[in-house]
Symmetry: C2
Subunit: 831 residues, 2 copies
């Protein structure tokens, strides 16, 4: 902690520890429910005047009331009549435990927003406390602006309550439907990354990020504290992490609540923060402490930013953060049926589960609701009294209405240089070779240079390994930590973020995209599985938000997966996994796109398309090793626009209308190479066999037209792949993915797919494809086995192919490299 | 830090900071390579006598020499002739940067093992430094015992070098082939979890765990420091984490190396450790410091364990750990072609990449190898001199030969109570209901009680939520942190580990299994995707280790996935994802198993089978909500043994030989319920239609017999599913998975699958299945649409089904619950 904080960073509060105070509520009649005492605010020293304190507390009570109402009530929202069973929802769903903490932070953030004219957004890490942000958005009027049936009056309050966690209504956690939220409250672990992602390149933004102490146990959250090493006070906004230490998860205490406070402070200090503890049970004391903590934190942030912006880029500040230690389910009935509830795991979800069927529970619920004194908060019509309304910041200053949280609304298109100027010359197919990602890097370099405020590249220490090093000629790697004597290409204002955590890369990029900016995540193909779950959740967000009328499309999440399965031969089995494609394909077709460009120019064309697209997840897999160029710029443009097409020059120059004897299909750079090599062998050795080569760039073209917007109509599919000729499909990934995409097609029974079948080891590139029967020789054998009537000439060729494989295997073992006839092979026919 | 450490935890070394000392090597002739100076040990104060120092250093030099040899040499291992181009591998692969640190730790661990008769294993977090552990295993003789062609002499040394990262040889990282390793060195992040998993229930074991500072940036590693809150000094072994702070990753500095040392120490302290820093560049000084640090750490561990074992279980110790700050690529050529290499990211992989083609590089390589003075280390035959051999611990005390690292060798079978005694009475199909996982919990309770030393259950705060609460009647949750007043069921010796990190659950369990014990991981189905990548790597380990003759099968990794996609209706879209099955199905068929038991008794039978199995990953998906019981204990036993079978009582009582008009197939509890309800409607409304109900428990039965050991032969598949009748398959997961498994089957064209298609929301159970067209009414409509010639009666029924769906939808919206005709439905026909 810095000198601004007291020796332990603790802001004085009359009632210092949440853990102890929870105990105050015990006792009384064991075996029965105990209702909360209506509390009155005491005068406590602190920055808040009595009026301010009363206002803040009124907001907090109102938001808590509205949250309890959402969980329990389907009618009688203002308790104008005694609470009856039919007013209670038949199925009680939702989480109260974290709500009072979220509402407290929101109320205090509003005070700061008004006082400082802050441009602020709110991230609810304990997102299952959805009733809290819903309540605040309703109080701010945003809910009613976005959903006309949820008016800011008694009728709207009733509708707000009734829709919550109800069929056809809204989820119990923060979701795309939640005004002001750009963070889903389902899967835990990503709140702080989303917060930092939002703050990058938003110099005037403040992100209040509440982190649950349960969420804090996850791996992604545990490392994401270090995101402060990538936040530049001069050019980025600020994140104020608020660790909501309410001590319990669903059924267990949290780790961070059960280590000595000195250890917790040490940990947070070690993460680079200056923690301030706000702890207590008595609302007045906590309000005063929270107000003081927030004032001090925001003063400090402003000071860091001013200093950084007035001088040259300097060192990383020790950013403030708040530890908010209050009881779980704060203000709920302390004891229910003899068990302590407030301040324990029992307050996690619904504190009075039998409120509909049990008269005792229902009476306590009514007392609980009345303890917030709704009559003081809402007028005759059920509208909030001015005491609440005057706390609402103006227009877009409301966190529930900040356009940053509806990223598509603020998005600026990228300035994209014409990719064709970066294309490679291709005098003839296969005559030249390039590292495809290196070529892409020259274009990404200029994309980076042209969009210095809204485009970032993320990589887990793999940018240069993935051959995007040209980007580093116009920028460095963002780095706010210390810089060592031999460190290179680090830059306080770098446009590349490299950290050895796929979770951090993904989470920061998600936060950046969801707040309206653009980016690329480049990663080794095998290790992108580390963020499978994050991808799933992001895809679900995009899907669900498409159905929310006021949400605008956000920039796509663009992956560049390289160091792929077929060129991890030297790194071996652990680095070989193309299965991310299978994970991606399970998500909504309207959201996901998978591209397998076979060479440098097609990769350029594909990526240009991706950076122009919106609201998709684009997965692009491409090699980083030198690989033959097949298509010129113009050909690549046409081929990528088609997504899949016949390479006339590679097979017999058939018209689409004529039917070949066999189709050699391919998707992915290595499978394309092997397919072309097989085609060359067949053309030479079996000249009477009419072959067609089909290359697929856009995997979605294979799906039926009624299952994906890119899906080829059956007639077009049949035209490409024939209705009845054998198809030998060489595929980049697991072979059954192609079957899953095409099982409804006319000629599916003629389809034979070669791909990766978990046969890997430390070896050479060609040996890898041989291990999985994807090599040219095996593809030729597949053709011979499947095309009827080829005769003895084919039998001889089949034997030659088997011999060639054996020779290649032996050469590899003897020389540690691929046999020259493979390594030096070139396409022999021209265009 | 504790009082045992100096004020900064630093052990004095003559050359205190790695960062500074790296600079010592700069200068000289820029633009040329610079060879390392052969160093001589200075006398430095410390615990090591001159002889001990010389011995340790000799080991370290030998291991470093052997590592460099592995990376570069294909011949001339002892440099008996001048190094020529043909002695160098054509493709230089491997990572030297981390090797000297690994070898240093190994050498010093050996000293401690001998002095203290420690039972110890080694975890190499920077596992890509595979040459290090390979070298140490060779020096210890283990390599030669396990691989007779790698003798401990010059010939064997040559073979050791030649095989490294070479086709047909061993991977460049620690792998199943590596003696003494139970941790794969491919994907980073799991070393510390594996170490803690190994230490659990191994009271006499010490795990030396080296963590790379790159790896330390990952999420899983960042949270896994907290695993010390689950390690009981009385009944578990010890983990000594050694953070290898060599400051660089592939291309970037590491975060932990670029924060002030005080911040790093604060962080580690906050994680609950007492860090000791060992830093330097001068080998003698580092040896002395490392020896002192290790002595102090091991003294401290012994003290904690003695105190805990002599008294009642007490509080969590502040365990020691070591920060080893030495240069990356320590002892390699300091400058190559004018660039600083030693002590920078350039030493990450191969410091002299042109050693084969460039005479200058090759000369420097030779000087580098000679700087280790091999003539002092290896005799005429190339065998290690006694100075090295006397450091080798005896037999299984060698870390390369510890049977704990070959878990199958030490495994004890579980004592499993007869599951049939825990089965539920099923007087008639569907007459009763149970929570399947609750029933399983009664059996797991007794499994836990009967195996208190080698069986653990892991859950991310979901044990009780997943209805396994009965386990908590015989044990508590393992918890070594503080215990609060309202915490329940925490126990210093608990046999359940709950922490809100799927990564920790998975990683600890992996470490536990790989060292020969048994366990279960129960998790919400959707969130198991969080560990997709860990599952992939574990499956690859199992697969690869099957091919290593001396590796013994280890206990299976058993998942119990519940709170599944169909009963997350109230939690909504984010909690709905059955795609883990697709990830699992991509792995080697010999390793993976997927089970979908439809009721309580089949779940019991399945899980009994899983806990008896070895070397698999068993994925079991089962519901936790009350669900109809279908099969008696005896029926369940038979059905599970078959894996898939006809439920004669549910369809028309056909003989297998007769052919029904339609097959209703199902897999999963909710799909089974809907299928039976559809069957009941069809039997009543279309009595002339002969239907067959087939239930699939073991998904692998659907695969062709030549693709999976469980795969049904085509003839049996055809007997079950018919060769030509429509099959309506109601499936738990994404529907295309069934197509992918069955596309080669005779009747695939007759197969129509209903499953989850990413249509989810917050709603009721039946509304969820309706959203995805998996409901009884839609299944009946599917039958009518696919069975020809049903006539007008069917048309009327089709309309009724559409009306019934609409009524159910409207009811749901009005009542927030399922329509009674569905909610209260019971199987009407008996057995």
């Amino acid at each position: 902690m810095t000198d601004l904080a007291s020796s332990e960073g603790r802001v004085p509060a009359t009632d210092p520890t949440g853990a102890d105070t929870a105990a105050d509520n015990i006792g009384g009649s064991g075996g029965t429910t105990i209702a909360p005492e209506p509390y009155r605010l005491a005068e406590v020293p602190g920055p808040l005047s009595p009026d301010e304190l009363a206002d803040l507390d009124a907001w907090w009570r109102a938001a808590n009331y509205l949250a309890v109402g959402q969980i329990y009530l389907t009618a009688n929202p203002l308790l104008r009549t005694p609470l009856a069973a039919e007013h209670i929802k038949p199925r009680l769903l939702g989480h109260f435990g974290t709500v009072p903490g979220l509402n407290l932070v929101w109320a205090h953030a509003n005070r700061a927003i008004r006082a400082r004219d802050l441009d602020a957004v709110f991230v609810a890490g304990p997102g299952h406390g959805g009733p809290g942000p819903n309540a605040c958005a309703w109080l701010e009027g945003t809910y009613s602006e976005l959903y006309s049936n949820i008016s800011r009056d008694g009728a709207g309050m009733g509708a707000l309550f009734a829709q919550f966690s109800y069929p056809g209504g809204v989820p119990s956690h923060c979701a795309p439907e939640t005004p002001g939220s750009f963070h889903e409250g389902g899967e835990l672990g990503y709140s702080l990354l989303h917060a930092y992602g939002a703050a990058l390149d938003h110099p005037d933004l403040t992100v209040f990020c509440v982190i649950g102490d349960g969420e804090a146990e996850t791996g992604p959250l545990a490392t994401s504290w270090h995101a402060n090493k990538f936040l530049n006070p001069a050019r980025d906004g600020a994140v104020l992490p608020i660790l909501a230490l309410n001590e319990y998860k669903i059924a267990n205490p949290t780790l961070l609540a059960r280590i000595p406070e000195s250890e917790l402070l040490s940990l947070l200090h070690g993460y680079g923060y200056d923690p301030i503890i706000v702890a207590g049970h008595d609302p007045a004391a906590v309000h005063q402490a929270m107000a003081a903590a927030l004032d001090r934190s925001l003063d400090r942030i402003a000071e860091f930013q001013r200093a950084a912006r007035e001088s040259a880029d300097g060192t990383r500040p020790r950013w403030p953060m708040i530890v908010l230690r209050t009881p779980k389910g704060w203000t709920c009935p302390p004891v229910v049926d003899g068990d302590q509830v407030e301040g324990t795991f029992r307050a996690h979800q619904v504190p009075l589960p039998a409120a509909r069927s049990d008269d005792g529970h229902r009476r306590v619920l009514e007392q609980w609701l009345q303890s917030y004194r709704p009559a003081e908060l809402f007028d005759e019509d059920g509208s909030p009294y001015p005491q609440l309304l005057r706390q609402v910041p103006a227009g877009p200053r409301r966190m529930s209405a900040n356009p940053v949280a509806n990223g598509g609304a603020t998005m600026q298109d990228l300035r994209l240089p014409d990719w064709r100027r970066y294309g490679v010359e291709v005098p003839a197919p296969g005559a030249t070779s390039h590292e495809a990602t290196q070529v892409l890097g020259t274009w990404l370099r200029d994309v980076t240079a042209a969009n210095r405020d809204n485009f970032l590249i993320f990589a887990p220490d793999e940018l240069a390994s993935n051959r995007l090093q040209d980007v580093l000629t116009v920028t460095g790697r963002n780095w706010q930590a210390d810089i060592g004597e031999f460190d290179v290409k680090l830059d306080r204002r770098g446009r590349v973020i490299e950290v050895l955590s796929e979770h951090m890369c993904q989470g920061l990029l998600e936060g950046y995209l969801l707040t309206g900016r653009h980016g690329v995540f480049t990663c080794y193909e095998a290790f992108i599985h580390i963020v499978d779950a994050m991808f799933n959740q992001h895809a679900k967000w995009l899907d669900a938000s498409s159905a929310v009328p006021w949400r605008r499309p956000v920039p796509s999440l663009n992956y560049l997966l390289t160091s792929h399965v077929w060129r991890q031969d030297h790194n071996g089995f652990t680095h070989q996994d193309p299965g991310f494609l299978d994970v991606v394909m399970n998500k909504q077709p309207s959201i996901v796109r998978v591209y397998l460009p076979p060479d440098a120019n097609t990769l350029l064309s594909t990526y240009d398309h991706c950076l122009r697209s919106r609201h998709y997840v684009n997965v692009v897999v491409a090699g980083k090793q030198p690989q033959a160029d097949w298509l010129s710029v113009d050909q690549a443009r046409l081929h990528c626009a088609r997504g899949a097409g016949i390479w006339e020059w590679a097979g017999h120059n058939d018209e689409t209308g004529t039917t070949p004897d066999v189709v050699l299909a391919c998707a992915g750079d290595v499978p394309t190479l092997e397919t072309l090599a097989a085609a060359a062998i067949l053309r030479e050795r079996l000249p009477q066999l009419r072959i067609r080569v089909v290359n697929v760039v856009d995997l979605m073209r294979l799906l039926p037209a009624d299952e994906h917007p890119h899906g080829l109509p059956d007639s077009e599919f049949d035209t490409l792949f024939t209705r009845d000729r054998p198809i030998i499909f060489a595929f980049h990934g697991y072979p059954w993915l192609i079957h899953r995409l095409t099982y409804r097609r006319t000629n599916h029974s003629g389809l034979h797919v070669r791909g990766y079948k978990e046969k890997g080891t430390t070896t050479t590139p060609f040996d890898m494809v041989m291990l999985n029967d994807l090599d040219r020789y095996h593809l030729v054998m597949d053709v011979i086995d499947r095309v009827p009537g080829l005769g003895t000439q084919a039998a001889g060729l089949r034997q030659d192919m088997a011999d060639a494989r054996l020779a290649a295997r032996i050469w590899t073992r003897e020389h540690g490299a691929d046999i020259p006839e493979v390594a030096d092979w070139r396409w022999p026919y021209g265009r």
